[in-house]
Amino acid sequence: MTPETELARLIELIGPFNKKGVAISESTRFADDLELDSLTVMDLVANIEDEWDINIPLNLLPDLENVGQLADAVAKLKG
């Protein structure tokens, strides 16, 4: 799977959490654009973990501010 297909699937997974209906791209920020609170982020992270059968350590989350950074992290964690 190329990073592009990961990004596409990631955008699909974010869909149900996109309550404000903003257009999602690599540069969409979780806190500022999607306004996800910490509990919503937790649900989303759990879904992403199960989609790719990976663990995303809590310690990584503060550095993942936008969708593109999360896609890169998923690609890395998949190994």
Partner: protein, 401 residues
């Protein structure tokens, strides 16, 4: 740059809340405490239904006199760390009481329950180790993770398969600590520890269970949910507190691990803070020893908890758990405004319960959380339910007006 400006949103939210004319749910002052279940709040005698004073030990005469004696004999404070000048006879005695209560080889007392979790979590799992914790874990467990250097992975609340999957993704040879709670304090739900601990063991993980909200009334000896579910040989570390059933303040961890005692020398939240005041240690010891034979209190606590759940449900309130699972009985409300309004009406009707909201609560729920005490009577429960109904009626009347 004003460093406090980052809290402007919180300041605005809180002042907006107060501007709606309600009393501050986070600014309650008890000017007199009459008993484990009664205090004067806003000049009114109020029934306390949100204090975690599960076994009603705060005014027990033996507990008070043990504290008074220690206060006179050992002074107001230890002025020191447990590993320097801060270990007095009452500190040793309360640790012995814990070993007797839990039937373990070791007990370590911390100065608060928060620090017990901070210390245990940050010290047990180090760099290269993994912590796998329930998503609804208490803030002290999350903060313990932040203080330590382990990789932290969450699993969905009380979800056995979710824990299994996440443990399965970790390197086989890595050190792993699975952190669970017997009773989760927001909704008052009980964990399926038997299944969760079995999964943890199957992946070679060690387990730590926080039994803060179960001590005294779960299991044959009141040790907690892990005892009730038959896991005494399987759980590696149990964490607890003196600030709930024991009725004072302090935290602890007990274990049969042969190397457990070394934590005293390597755990910062234990060694870099002053020990408990000796009077507190003595009250805790007296209380713990009485909790070993408190069957009548246990029976009454369960009776009033079940009655409150049944009474509020029958009155049409939406309960956080279908059945009463613990001594925490929580009512679900739709949003912040209605929760605060109802909380305000309750305090005006002489009922104190906790208002809980995200992020303390899971899944963004708003709660009015009641916790029962063995010192409540069934008549108290009738009054509590009646006042919940009156408070709801008063709100409806205000809306109609």
């Amino acid at each position: 740059m004003d460093l406090l400006s980052k809290f402007d949103a919180v300041i605005a939210e809180h002042s907006g809340l107060l501007a709606s004319g309600v009393r501050d749910p986070f600014g309650v002052v008890m000017t007199q405490v009459l008993s484990p279940t009664r205090a004067i709040i806003n000049g009114r005698e109020t029934i306390l239904v949100g204090t975690y004073n599960y076994m009603g030990m705060t005014f027990d005469s033996d507990v008070i006199s043990a504290g008074e004696q220690a206060l006179r004999a050992f002074g107001a404070g230890s002025t020191g760390s447990r590993v320097l000048n801060g270990t007095f006879a009452p500190h040793i005695a309360v640790e012995q009481a814990l070993m007797d209560f839990y039937g373990t080889a070791s007990a370590i007392v911390f100065s608060t329950g928060y620090q017990a979790n901070l210390g245990m979590v940050s010290t047990l799992a180090g760099k290269g180790d993994y912590i796998v914790l329930d998503a609804d874990s208490h803030a002290s467990i999350y903060d313990g993770c932040k203080l330590g250097n382990a990789e932290v992975v969450r699993f969905r609340h009380n979800n056995v398969d979710d824990l299994d999957k996440r443990l399965g993704r970790l390197p086989k040879e890595a050190g792993k600590l699975v952190i669970l709670e017997g009773v989760y304090s927001m909704l008052g739900d009980v964990a399926p520890l038997k299944e969760l601990v079995a999964v943890a063991k199957s992946h070679g993980a060690m387990t730590m269970v926080d039994e803060a909200h179960a001590m005294g009334f779960f299991g044959a000896n009141g040790r907690g949910v892990y005892e009730e579910q038959g896991l005494e040989a399987d759980v590696d570390f149990v964490v607890g507190t003196f600030s709930k059933s024991v009725g004072t303040v302090g935290g602890f961890a007990v274990s049969n691990h042969p190397k457990f005692e070394i934590l005293r020398l390597v755990c910062n939240p234990y060694r870099f803070t002053a020990s408990l005041p000796p009077a507190v240690a003595a009250t805790a010891e007296a209380s713990i020893r009485k909790l070993m034979r408190a069957q009548a209190k246990r029976d009454n606590l369960w009776a009033v908890s079940r009655k409150l759940h049944g009474g509020l449900q029958a009155a049409g309130f939406q309960m956080a758990t279908e059945t009463p699972e613990s001594a925490i009985i929580a009512v679900l409300l739709p949003d912040q405004l209605s929760t605060v309004a109802m909380w305000h009406q309750l305090i005006e009707h002489g009922i104190y319960c906790n208002m809980s909201r995200p992020p303390a609560t899971p899944a963004g729920v708003f709660l009015l959380r009641c916790s029962l005490s063995a010192a409540h009577t069934t008549e108290d429960v009738d009054i509590i339910v009646a006042r919940f109904v009156q408070a709801r009626d008063a709100l409806a009347a205000m809306k109609a007006a």
